[in-house]
């Protein structure tokens, strides 16, 4: 059973997009220099060496069906941030936290509940109803396209709940409820749900090991053919063989530079996060599952295997259940009772997951700061209220300073601003620009977010 169903799952781990980018790496030269710089493979960067900035990373953590509205708040009081009950797990990190109120996606309003509010959470696109999927590229994938090309894994797309594709009563496909990362308007990025396979994908991806083995095999063919060839044919085949060898060498160089980057972290930081390969199969406990996924993102960020990640902690209309929180109903049904103590516990639990990853990243020294300081970890929900299915404003947090590009310790409230000034896509555009992506528009936004 295990082996057979792996077909779709492994496919998910090794998406076409990842491959294409992996191969794209072979083409460009900059990655070589870049890797060396980011990973300071050749020479560890000095703490205050501004010529050698650390890589900026971006991760999204997604929770669905709203939060507990009364306990989700933050205010600034005498220079100190005060947090509502649900945000308490983040208290130790509040100087690195931004709580952003009032942003929304216009296209996720007025379209009925659930899938239409979710499939565009990271794209801002208008979604198409019916059998054909059509939305837009998500911000993580747009970033990966622009800056992830040079990484071993251009982006990690993880989830703790399997996608589904039926029809919702609103006539939107449930695929919209299942995926927040979209590689283009019509295709979601296949999401890895198994921690063991997500872990493996950091080490054995198509851009390296598998490509190399293909080239090895092809070389055998070419050698065989060449042995029988005349002089001029040999010259032609030699040209082919040389090209293959050159591509192989680039793969080798890429691998070794990443390895040495990792080495450098070990020697330099004394804070390398060690992680054992998770066991095959699905963790029985959702707490374990989420923690492993967070660990994999932390590992990937610290070892520079990727700079972009998305983690769907739960799907929209989620069937996750929380016996350890003494919540009797599964996620979706519990969200309909959003003022309940149960829902408050669920919301707080999700914040604790964000806090877990943030603290993990913050424990990883990097230069004069931590990996968290060079990252932006964003937490977003598709609704404010689960019972009203209200997406006119969404709960959103960011953690980390994005290498001093993003001021933190702030509470920003856009609730009273005009719709034009509170677009989620404006925030995404701002983050893209601060990560060095050459973009002037994103989704439905033509301006970055004011006063960010």
């Amino acid at each position: 059973m295990q082996n057979k169903t792996r077909i779709t799952k492994a496919r998910a781990a090794l998406s076409r997009r990842e491959w294409l980018r992996g191969a794209g790496v072979l083409m460009g030269l900059p990655w070589l220099e870049s890797m060396a710089v980011w990973g300071h493979a050749e020479e560890p960067a000095k703490a205050n060496d501004t010529l050698h900035p650390f890589p900026q990373r971006f991760a999204v953590m997604f929770m669905a069906c709203g939060v507990h509205p009364e306990h989700w708040w933050a205010k600034e009081k005498e220079g100190e941030m005060e947090l509502g009950r649900c945000l308490q797990p983040l208290d130790p990190l509040k100087h690195k936290l931004n709580v952003i109120h009032g942003l929304f996606n216009k296209n996720a309003t007025g379209v009925g509940i659930h899938p239409g509010q979710t499939g565009n959470i990271l794209s801002g696109a208008a979604l198409q109803k019916g059998a054909e999927l059509r939305g837009g590229i998500s911000v993580d994938q747009a970033m990966a396209n622009a800056i992830g090309q040079e990484d071993i894994v251009p982006s990690l797309v993880l989830g703790c709940e399997q996608p589904t594709t039926g029809y919702h009563e609103t006539n939107f496909s449930m695929a919209y409820s299942s995926h927040i990362s979209w590689q283009n308007a019509t295709s979601p990025v296949p999401m890895e749900v198994y921690p063991s396979l997500a872990f493996d994908s950091l080490f054995e991806n198509r851009g390296t090991q598998r490509n190399k083995s293909i080239l090895d095999r092809v070389m055998e063919d070419a050698e065989r053919v060449r042995r029988q060839a005349s002089a001029s044919d040999q010259a032609k085949l030699e040209e082919y063989l040389t090209s293959i060898r050159e591509v192989e060498k680039r793969i080798e160089r890429q691998r070794s530079s990443v390895e040495s980057a990792r080495e450098a972290v070990v020697q330099d930081g004394k804070s390398l996060f060690k992680m054992e390969r998770p066991e095959n199969g699905l963790p029985e406990d959702i707490r374990e599952h989420m923690r492993l996924m967070c660990d994999i993102i932390a590992l990937a960020f610290q070892s520079n295997r990727t700079r972009v990640a998305s983690l769907l902690l739960c799907r929209d209309i989620s069937g996750l259940f929380y016996p350890f929180l003494h919540v009797g109903k599964p996620h979706h049904l519990a969200s309909h009772d959003e003022m309940s103590d149960e829902w408050e516990r669920v919301t707080t639990y999700y914040c604790s997951q964000v806090a877990y990853l943030a603290q993990k990243l913050d424990s990883m020294n990097e230069g004069d700061g931590t990996v968290l300081d060079h990252s932006c970890l964003m937490f977003v929900n598709n609704m404010w209220s689960g019972s009203k299915h209200d997406s006119t404003k969404v709960p959103l947090l960011t953690l980390g300073g994005l290498d001093r590009k993003l001021a933190t310790g702030r509470v920003l409230d856009y609730s009273d601003r005009a719709e034009e000034e509170r677009k989620l896509c404006s925030l995404y555009l701002s983050l893209m620009q601060r990560m060095g992506v050459d973009a002037t528009t994103f989704g439905d936004a033509e301006e970055p977010l004011v006063e960010l």
């Binding site: 076409r16 009563e169 040209e239 293959i244």
Partner: protein
Amino acid sequence: MKKIVLALGCRLGIAFGMAIWLASGLEAQEIERGVLNEQFQAEVRPLLSKYCESCHSGDSPEAKFDTTQFSEPLAIASAWGPWQTVLERISASEMPPVDESPQPTDAEREVIATWTELFRQSEAERLRDDPGPVSTRRLNNAEFNYSIRDLTGVDIRPTQSFPIDPANEAGFDNSAESLTISPALVAKYLDAARLVADHMLLTPDGIRFAPFPVVTDTDRDKYCVQRIVDFYERQPTQLEDYLEACWQVTTCRDGNSTEQTLGRIADEMKLSPSYLELVYETLYSSETTYGPLGQIRKRLETLSREVDGSVEQRRAVRSECAEIAKYIQAARKKLQPEFPILSGPAGMNGGSQSLVLWRNRQMATHRRSCRTEGLSGDAKDSLLEADDIVAFRRVDDVERKKIIQAYERFCSVFPDAFYIKERGRGHIDARDAIREGKGRLLSAGFHSMMGYFRDDQPLYELVLSPPQQAELDRLWNELDFIAQVPLRQYSGFIWFERAESSFINEEAFHFVRAEDRAAASEAMIERFAGVYLEKVRKHTDSPVIIEAAENYFHDMNAKIRHLESQLEDAQLKQFESLMEFAERAYRRPLTGEERTALRSFYDEVKSFPTADHRSAMEDTLISIIVSPSQLYRWDLQCNEQQAHALKPYELASRLSYFLWASLPDDALMAEAAKGQLSNQQAVSQQVSRMIEDERVHGMAREFLGNWLDFRRFETHNGVDRNEFADFDDELRQAMADEPIEYFLEVLRRNGRLAELLESDHMVINQALALHYGVANVEFETDAQWKRVDGASDYQRGGLLSMGVFLTQNSPGLRTSPVKRGYWVVRKLLGEKIPPPPPNVPELPSSEHQLGDLTLRELLAQHREHPSCAACHDRFDAAGLLLEGFDPIGRPRTNDLGGRLVATDAILPNGSEAEGLAGLKNYILTQRADDFRRHFCQSLLSFALGRTLILPDDLLVDDMLMQLKQNDDRLQVAFEVIVQSQQFRNKRGAATSSVERNHAE
């Protein structure tokens, strides 16, 4: 003796030949070569030194052309192309430049020309039938695309974003001379191959390719579902057609049996023979007068049995049949059995899978059944027709039974639906569900969960033949298999029961998670079924609901187990299918060593931690595509230095890459396997077959496109679309296709080569008809091309006035007589014209800005300069004669600035001509031989995949002669080529003819 020959030779080549002819065989050749050698050193070489070398020698020779390279005849033989250019320019008095002195006398120019001709004849004869140096090379971008298309059956065009292939001297991008490879290109080939792998489907029987990437569940769903829906929609299920067919049978008086007639008419009207027979028998062979059947029969009787053959009668019959069909549908609807929407125990959602499936199944298995309640005359809401109610009350039980049977038979023959194509949710109001179901193809109608439901029993039983039934079974099985439907459906069930239905929130259910693959194992399904059914039984007494839930677990488990064992069984078949793919990709049988290598590679990849069968299949596929056996034309590879005949598979590849620019098909490979291709006649038959095949478009596009230089017009952006609003992408594509369609029409009909220059027909599509102003021609589709006669009425007919050339050679807002003329003279007639000097004055970019002078007046000024005139005199005229066409090739009398355009010109031979007709007349009467020779040279160069060498001249001569002797029939040129020694042999390229000569 020698001196005499030499002296004569200078004046009269024929006499020279005669002298040689007197000697015999090898001896004569020896003498001839000696003479030519001496003559070159004594008479030709000194002329080169005197007139050329002051400029064309040293470190930086003029035009980077060094004439000291021509130190001896052998050097000329090996640089035959450049030498011809030298000769042409000297003969045309273009070299030395007119403003240089000293100038050679006419007699001196003649010496070089005469010697060259004698040398050419001598060398060509000596090297006759040399296949020429060809070496292995990679496929060019076009060949790669076509080959992938023919390998996969889908047109993926993976090289679309590749850098453009460089062309050889002859202008073709299919020769080893120009096709090189680089690391960057290898990386692109890997990408391209991965893109192909993204299209690969693993089916129960092997591999197949989808027309779009199938990497996500939704992609695979779309592919499989669409194939089933397409199958349904292809089936003849229109009742009025069957009724009309029945009527035709009744009117048939040809003496054949009814059975025979039914078969014939079913065939003619493309109806199901078995269903037509059933309908006919039901309506004409039984005698019941009861129920809808009685009504239908009555109505059918009113149709005339005498056919008068008139359109009116046919129309009347058709419309009555349509009316009857409507009646049938209405009557049928009332008799449709109804099944309640199940309502489960508390907490179970109405849209839950087991409940929806139960009702679906009831409906699917009762589409030919009659509603039983209400089939009596006593019932208050009787479903019987009014007459039947009366009858029912009157007659005895036996007759009553007959009445009921008549209704049941009606329902059985006319099902309430043949198949269900789309379905909304099963637990909501029927009318809402129909509205909601639009576009939910084959959907099971679950609430929020994916799932498909097959409901086509009437189609299957009544309409389909056994092979069609098997095909439909296969398509449904493939949906389950390819899209892994049972597993996904079951996973959706677990999620739904918890998240939406809230039926499984107790702790007893906590062990099962939708994400967990292990949840679909037999043991886990049983465990889950156990607690689930226990709860169902506890909360309901309804045996239907209990049964529905029991059935659900049982069926899902069976389906998932079936899928598993199929997946297991299919792996070997899929790998074998991949080996067949490799064989076709390599264009030859695989060696045992290669099979082993591919197998061990597959095993190796499969053993990687993140890999599995699918990824191993993909990587093996990729390795096949980027393997040199696929990527390279191994058939051109030579292990021997001597010329030798191509082996059958090599010849198969050579034929297919010439005539299709793609790989050989099964038929060609079969011929090769049988060893038939050594036989001339068999090759001729293949050529005829291949020219008829659609793939011949590949040849036409690559050969014509490169020869006439419009290969990239598909992306031409030189047209100002503000000025020329009618010019859109569709027209651009049509223009780019026109020469191809025209050429193929001539070729397939075996028309004359001269038709490329002049004819009174054109081959056009809708877009071109509009552009050319051709009315009165109907096109069925936008893609349709039609031959249309009377082309001269629209100033068309032949290549010269085709939109593509007129447009491509116009820079935006004006025409360019220079570019158009150059194209005619250079591309069509094959004259060699040197590139323009760097300091050419710019012409205004738009006709709006020309000022007082017309374009032709500006050009005339340009030609006043002697160094410009040397070339422009050769081609401006041809362009000026085409001035009657505007920048996008429409006939015109005024230019964009409103000035009248003149279309007259003085031809290079000094005579005057006017317009397109004048140009055609000039080419046909004065330049036809140039055109023919250039065409033959180009086609030969394309066919052989190399620049022509000196001895090829004889083959070109032969092509020209055969064309002349065979009424100028185009296929003759192809036939001569494929039967030639050059085409059917090969030799190693390491030693050129000249080097070989040295060796001898």
